[in-house]
Symmetry: C2
Subunit: 239 residues, 2 copies
């Protein structure tokens, strides 16, 4: 399996000055773990922005293939929200005096590969992909942003915490599963496939140029999986 | 050829109260002609919103198939601008107490057919489609909006007059034609095909339930074609 390399930088475990204040004590342990693996700002932005563009492309396929005009309209809302996040991230790139294209370029091939293997075979799988991968990756990128320089960190965390329109996707999928209960097992299986590929992306992001202590990463991934399980629960599916 | 029926309403030639002030004397003759054919607000919005969604879908295909990350990023800007216009139009639908989906529904089949025949075979044709059809249809919808109730009219004209990012498409296409001059004749031909199909949509919009005096419509279409010719000139192509 091809490994996607993201956020490649040696962790700076003693770089205490970059940890910043704990803003949310409930997740502080995990966030501090990730903050200790803080990436440089531009590589972080290049990868997060391109992942968000891939999420937008998935959603725009969902717009194009929607089975009804109401579904199309709902997915267009999600697509707009994702695209706004992408442009918020590229605005941070420009703010640092860099070009969005060249900043994303090093990560295109690997993320395009990830996008291909998670594309989904039909409208329902595409919706599950939008929901599951965007949920996991936004959670991950948001946690990692906690260790960026503080002004950028605050803007990026706020950006990634914004509305994602996922309630619209949940409503579409719940209605589809209710109308055709046989969808449930196929989509649950697809969700499991996606979470595997997506956690591999996240793990590679942290591990590309370093060898983080697996035990220290464990709680981070446990939290990501717990949030994923809640998202699958919202669909009435087993994670 | 299947005729797309749009804006079906009998023209109200004596409905002078709806003409409103002339805001731009240079195009006043043509605008008044279109205002005399003013559609009802909701049918107007349903059709204009769905045409804009189709423009977004074309642009999102351009994002997905872009040959470079810089081109992809540029097209994502255009897609966001088009999607914002679509949502601006559906917000007007909601403001009138209607649902965007059901308001667009009557026009979906015909506009989907138009979208299929104007889709384009590759990245270059898709870009020309985005540029040529959005240019013509936004001009047309903006002129027609002049005759809507005045508060909605002002908002819609402002919305449709907003940035369309077309300078980004022009830059992409000029660079492509410069790199491969043989593209020019193929894209000029494609542009001519598009203008035919698109003016047919526009004409049907006015003619569906009425029989407007062809002579009176002539200057309207002459102006739309003149603006189209300027757009093709900007590409260095013959209209």
């Amino acid at each position: 399996m091809r490994v996607v390399k993201l956020f490649g930088r040696r962790p700076r475990r003693n770089d205490a000055a970059r940890l910043g204040p704990r803003r949310d004590s409930s997740a502080a342990v995990n966030r501090v773990d990730l903050e200790e693996l803080t990436p440089e700002l531009l590589p972080y932005l290049g990868q997060a922005a391109y992942l968000q563009l891939v999420t937008f492309e998935t959603l725009s396929r969902a717009v194009a293939t929607a089975p009804s005009i109401a579904s199309k309209e709902a997915m267009s809302r999600c697509a707009a929200l994702s695209l706004a996040k992408h442009h918020g991230l590229t605005a941070e790139v420009v703010r640092k005096g860099a070009q969005p294209g060249s900043t994303m370029q090093p990560y295109v091939a690997a993320i395009d590969h990830y996008a291909r293997v998670t594309a989904g075979a039909d409208w329902y799988e595409t919706l599950v992909t939008s929901y599951v991968t965007a949920g996991l990756l936004d959670d991950f990128s948001r946690q990692l942003a906690g260790g960026l320089p503080s002004d950028a960190s605050e803007r990026i965390v706020a950006l990634l915490s914004g509305d994602d329109g996922h309630e619209l996707i949940v409503a579409e999928l719940r209605a589809a599963i209710e109308a055709n209960p046989r969808l449930a097992s196929r989509l649950a299986l697809w969700g499991r496939r996606l979470v595997g590929d997506t956690l591999l992306v996240a793990r590679s992001a942290l591990a590309a140029h370093s060898h983080p202590d697996e035990a220290r990463l464990e709680p981070v991934f446990t939290e990501l999986i717990a949030a994923h399980t809640r998202r699958m629960d919202a669909l009435g599916l087993t994670a």
